[in-house]
Amino acid sequence: MHLRDSESDAQFRFEVREWLHGAVASLPEHPATEDWPGRRAFDANWQGLLFEAGYAGINWPSEHGGRGATPTEHLIFLEESAEAKAPDVGIGFVGQMHAGPTIIAEGTEAQKAHHLRGILTGDHAWCQGFSEPGSGSDLASLRTRAFRDGDDYVVSGQKIWTSHAMAADYCEMLVRTDPNELKHKGISWLIMPMDLPGIDVRPLVTVHGSTEFAELFLDEVRVPVANLVGEENDGWRVANVTLSFERGTGFVGELLDTTSVFRDLIALARSTKRHGSTVWDDDGIRHEFGVLGADLDALWAFTKRNVSQGARGGMVMGSGSGFKVAFATTQHRLGDLALRVLDRASLSLDDIGGKPTGELVHSKLHAFAISLGGGTTQIQQNIIAERVLGLPRER
């Protein structure tokens, strides 16, 4: 076991650092949260720079235009990106992390030719249409209907929690193609261009007060049958093939952000006066900083274990779920500590007094995105209990 970089990893880290240094300096100012065209252009510009430099699709296989980097190199790239304050994947998230890998694994040659390059260059943005108002944790109960009519599927229904729908060109969709089959059977995976008639995008306002995601209302949208990925009624399996793409780096970006927030909070506690000394001098608060620091270090070690396992060819059952629950718990606890440090400064969503107070309130609220999104903490606990510990199913 080692924590040191190997010689080739150290060389890769050096190259990435050099490149990031120049590339980040060339970036324009980040657009406002609600400026979707601006955000789209900003993220596409960054992705274009990555593409030209050969860092786009860093973990994608090289025969599909990716870099084919090892999981460890991927981790190094993300670490160095955070260190250089480079933009995160932003609007490219669904395309690069999910839709692209799915098309690589299950798409036709025509689908690969049409979509993969656009995802890598940043020209195409994707969103995800999986969850429905009645199908959240029980995703396989989804009811958005697609029936075959000639060379098209005619799709009607409603999708929810569709991040970046306002800026996306394509949507990866799960639809029910066989209404007589329940649950996992009878679902298909479709590529839906977002400019088709019959799609109504209605932004949903989050607890942050911003519109990161949307509802999709689909009224007889005609999606070409050529856009079916995998076999008809085999969409559940298709949606899960990306799990085999996961090499332990899924939450590295979030963990880097959290570590950075933690350091900001330490600086704030040390510079904030209270009761004649500083917030940092409060023994109870400092103890909590210590516990959280230990948890963050543990989560980094956990990540490195998962990446090391990923490098050996696959994740251990439950390690992703376990990481996510532990990370969500830490994120909530960090948010609670932030509110204690901020005291009444937490009443403002905007930064006060030149300090990142608003960012810290934002981070507290963001903890719910971690404990709810991508399978709630309770669903992850069920997965661990049943698939790792082998406890019997409830029904």
Binding site: M1, H2, R270, W280, F289, G290, G293, A294, L391
Partner: protein, 324 residues
């Protein structure tokens, strides 16, 4: 970077785990806590595996592996609740004759500034190792005076209370004391991490077998979530314990002090909380002496006091993060 055990390390863990279940099943562990229950022959078998000299150079009679290997082995020992002065023996094997092969039994105490001097396994020991800021001293156990034998909270960690410690002979200066405290703390944390895994396995086995309302209690979400949380705490703990173990071998990659302190926090939490969950999952049976759940909990309480407390560890981590 590679933070998963190698094939050799997996084989080592399997060997120790197999030995523990063959030669130290739980009734033997319990018997070590009885008056005169310490079985020296069995202890020598443990020593003969190379347990105490894993990270010692071969020229000193050791196995010549890295410190992380000792950490992995102590995790396996903690999981099996192996009794006896495991930390004292591992720390002193290269310096005190007879410890390496198990013929001399050490006890160790980090002498407190205030309060009673409480020493685990003193009553069966041949030598007493004494750590303070000035260094490490050793004395024959039979010259210690003013010994009060009390009932120990953990039945498998018998304790003695010494009124004073003997002067003893200096075997190392302040640097050795620092090294022993750091390594001793991390090996205790490794045992805590293993302890948390052991109590979780015990609880899971019971939850699959025990039926109420016509089905196994492990099918109820209320218990599933408790047990999933136990598993997660163990995974978090062993992550920081392993990372800290590697950092002792590769001190240039980060703050070893912070890593060791962090490992103490996560492993103490995992061991105490998982043992509590184990006791709770066993229902009324968990409240009995007969069920092993309390042995995990009480051993965890012993280990989390060894070479530093959680409160001290939290203070260390906070200050090191703040650059203080």
């Amino acid at each position: 970077m590679d933070l998963q055990p190698t094939d050799d390390q997996l084989a080592l863990i399997e060997m120790v785990t197999g030995f523990a279940s063959d030669r130290f099943p739980i009734d033997i562990v319990r018997s070590f806590g009885e008056p005169n229950g310490f079985d020296r022959d069995r202890w020598k078998e443990l020593a003969a595996l190379g347990t105490f000299g894993l990270a010692l150079p071969e020229t000193e009679g050791g196995v010549g592996l890295d410190f992380i290997d000792a950490v992995l082995v102590h995790e396996a020992l903690g999981k099996a609740l192996l009794p006896g002065p495991l930390l004292a023996a591992t720390l002193s094997a290269g310096l005190v004759d007879g410890v390496l092969d198990g013929s001399v039994l050490p006890a160790i105490v980090d002498i407190p500034h205030d309060g009673p001097i409480i020493v685990e396994h003193f009553r069966s020991s041949d030598v007493l190792l004494m750590v303070d800021d000035d260094g490490v001293r050793v004395a024959p156990s039979d010259i210690a005076e003013g010994i009060d034998v009390v009932r120990s909270t953990d039945p498998t960690s018998p304790i003695s209370i010494l009124e004073t410690v003997p002067a003893g002979e200096l075997i190392g200066g302040p640097e050795l004391a620092v090294a022993w405290r750091q390594r001793g703390s991390l090996l205790a944390s490794a045992q805590l991490s293993g302890n948390s895994i052991g109590s979780t396995e015990l609880a899971v086995a019971y939850a699959k077998e025990r039926e109420q309302f016509g089905r196994p209690i492990g099918s109820f979400q209320g218990l599933k979530h408790l047990l999933a949380d136990s598993w997660i705490r163990s995974e978090v703990a062993r992550s920081s314990v392993w990372a800290a173990g590697v950092m002792v071998d590769e001190p240039d990659v980060g703050s070893v002090t912070r890593a060791v302190a962090g490992a103490r926090l996560t492993s103490s939490r995992a061991a105490t909380e998982n043992a509590k969950t184990c006791l709770q999952v066993h229902g009324g049976m968990g409240f009995t002496w007969e069920v092993d759940a309390h042995l995990f909990l009480k051993r965890a309480w012993v280990l989390e006091t060894v070479f530093g407390t959680c409160d001290e560890a939290a203070e260390d981590v906070a200050n090191l993060y703040a650059g203080l």
